[in-house]
Symmetry: C2
């Protein structure tokens, strides 16, 4: 199997340049102004699949941004791997904190800096290049399908319909996703779960127009003050979320699972130093890893109201806004939590203001079993290239479509992520280490090999 | 004295057009990009003073925006009126709520719509035109000085020095300011006090960079959540401000004064309907007029942090910000309250975050006696043109320089305001009623006349 390593080594510079070209396209799904860029990016993904050896690749239009589908069916009797990824990226704001342009990728200290470098262009592109490696070295032991969407960062509003309507097209044996992180190259890990999501926006309206804060201040409720009081009330003194019923469906982790989690290497001092914080924060009674792994959360993603420009303006504003998202764990349901959250906000709104709240998007939590042959193939692939067996961990992020994949396609998902928590996902200066990019391309063919081998042994 | 009314009637259309020209200059003192517009506006004010009959008018440069000074000394033995006003305006944001351009004045339903229409271009310009009226009709019984600054909306940072260094230039018998409101044309009133101000900006920093809210959410303090908790704690359940010592220096209004205030016409139903609110809000134990007139307040003027663009971004931001201002009443001191406020914010900041807070600007509260001959001249002028004696009221706004005027120049201030609370000061669609503009020009010469008369009677 050395052939693919030789091929990769010979072409690694080209692989990188191709990725950089992809990173130059500002495929921000949340922004209507980037609609044309989304199509450009989808076309580029399609071209890359065909160039890598896919026998077929095309764009499927949706009510939002197009979905790219590609495949290489070598032999229907072989196992089929469906690779899922996304070519859309998060908005790059705040721009002023980037050291280089978010869509002008630069290589510095062995890292690619660009929006989407890790999430998820750099990661799904490893699969495109791994396909090329396997095809060119004649070592592809499976069939491969690609489903690369353009709306993951906005909650995949159109993917569910596509999946439901194209079950035959997407038929496979396993879904492989590289959109998560590992602990480090020295401590490889595999995510076995992603959290669900309920993302809403809140609008608090006080007076029907902006007022002079001297003439009216003190006599009319200020929507910023009221919104602050509402937000402040959402966590109690133990940082427990106060929404009635919020924790009802949470499957508590067993002591055994918590003990296992406690064994994963974690240095709180290093964690605090890396983030520049004096103290960690979170729900009382849980460790940092538990807080992000097995517990649901409620976070403020944005807030604005009144005068936010240079200098001072003495205004009592008419409105204040917030973006709030909850991360959910098994067996919480996104719709149910969204309803609880919105109802709670409206219930606690005082009579001085009106509160409107609406869903941005949601997604269900998902966990993958670690006793499947697919998980074992992934663990063995990592052990082969990293020299160490990966630790199974529960990640804090969300991939909204996972639960639907399982339901509609009857498939398990393997999260073969090569990112790092320090990759600044969704933040300025997002990066992806070249070493991780290349390690991923090297590891993926082993997964196909081992999957093919265990599949030949019969079902588990 | 009918002469001046005739002159005004003949020239009223030109007076209006001249004001509209002044309103077209975007003299936003808070914005560095409008620095050149500030000079253009100051030059226009100077030209208008000379055109109105001032024997001298010039610009005095400062470290910020220029001060315009003008005068017409007819006879040193006559009383001298120093008119103070400001040619700078508040930023027009949020622009999307304006029905017409903030610097493209339009006349609709007898009202001038433009930023600065009432605050304060439309009001100080009444004095410019009143000067022209008196000069042209040969009826000016006093000496007149004009001090029109360009930094009132940012706290007059350079005016204090100018006043201290130019006491001789500014020597006068009374300061006359039209930068406040009356209850209505049917219920004329005169402000007898303005509140002081402490305006600060707060920056709350959590992690040293924006984080992925899934990967880190729940385990790292979110600066928006913490800022909300800080803000929420600043008012207790009775909407009393919780900063220790905040009320220490407040001179409580006497029962007699509160009884007098209660006699001023106020229709709470109308007040709520006008603002589109279901309930008024404020400090327990005080009426709406008391809350804005005799009580200090703390208002949020702006808040921002995280992602505030279109769509959704799952970020746990590094920073959150707020602009907070307190209105002060006699005998609170601006510096003292600013220190209390900043210290309090830093004291209550939890260890998960760092809180920086700094002063934007401040100003002292001011009250004018109602038993002076100057006040009586103003009251009589209003009675002459409105047919009713004005009600003395304590206004909620601030004119930061008042206390300094009294201290440095030894002069009392008369607030001869012709605005209305509904003029949308500091808000979109600021307006000034033509009727009020013309009524002001008609009333001002009577003030000069009566002042001259009572001055001839000897000191009070």
């Amino acid at each position: 199997m050395k052939d693919w390593k030789n091929y990769q080594d010979q072409h690694k510079e080209r692989f990188l340049q191709e990725l950089l070209d992809l990173l130059r396209i500002p495929s921000i799904s949340a922004r209507s102004e980037n609609k044309a860029d989304m199509v450009t990016c989808a076309e580029a993904v399609k071209a890359s699949l065909l160039a890598a050896g896919a026998s077929r690749a095309e764009l499927y239009p949706t009510n939002g941004h197009p979905i790219v589908y590609g495949e290489l069916i070598t032999d229907p009797s072989k196992p089929t791997v469906l690779v899922y990824g996304h070519y859309d990226v998060q908005p790059p704001d705040p721009l002023e904190l980037w050291h280089s342009g978010p869509f002008e990728p630069v290589i510095k200290d062995g890292k690619i800096y660009a929006r989407g470098a890790c999430d998820d262009k750099g990661q799904f592109y490893m699969h495109v290049k791994a396909l090329e490696v396997m095809v060119q070295s004649g070592t592809l032991p499976t069939n491969v399908k690609f489903l690369i969407e353009g709306e993951e960062e906005v909650g995949s509003p159109n993917l569910a319909n596509f999946v439901k309507e194209n079950k035959e097209l997407l038929k496979a044996d396993v879904i492989l996703i590289s959109d998560t992180a590992m602990i480090s190259l020295d401590t490889p890990s595999i995510d076995i779960g992603v959290r669900g999501l309920s993302y809403i926006e809140v609008e608090v309206t006080g007076p029907n127009r902006d007022l002079h804060s001297g003439v009216y201040g003190g006599a009319v409720a200020n929507p910023i003050t009221i919104l602050a009081k509402i937000i402040a009330s959402l966590h109690d003194e133990n940082n427990h979320i106060t929404i009635p019923g919020f924790y009802n469906d949470v499957v508590e982790a067993t002591p055994a699972e918590r003990n296992l989690m406690a064994e994963a290497p974690f240095d709180e001092q290093e964690f605090k130093q890396d983030l520049g914080i004096a103290e960690v924060w979170g729900e009382k009674g849980f460790t940092t890893n538990e807080r992000t792994g097995i517990r649901p959360t409620l976070e403020l993603n944005g807030i604005w109201g009144g005068y936010i420009g240079e200098g001072a303006k003495t205004v009592l504003p008419s409105k204040a806004f917030a973006k709030i998202s909850c991360r959910l764990v098994p067996n919480q349901e996104s719709n149910k939590i969204t309803d609880l959250l919105i109802n709670h906000l409206q219930t606690i709104a005082p009579p001085y203001v009106t509160v409107k709240a609406s869903l941005h998007h949601g997604g269900e939590p998902y966990m993958t079993p670690i006793d499947s042959k697919e998980y074992r193939a992934a663990a063995k692939a990592i052990e082969t290239t990293f020299g160490k067996s990966p630790i199974p961990v529960r990640g804090g992020g969300s991939i909204p479509i996972c639960a639907l994949f399982e339901k509609e396609l009857g498939l398990k998902i393997i999260f073969l992520g090569f990112g790092l928590d320090s990759d600044n996902l969704h933040s300025p200066n997002e990066k992806y280490d070249l070493a991780n990019f290349y390690k991923g391309i090297e590891t993926i063919p082993y997964f196909h090999q081992y999957l093919s081998e265990v599949s030949n042994e019969g079902s588990n």
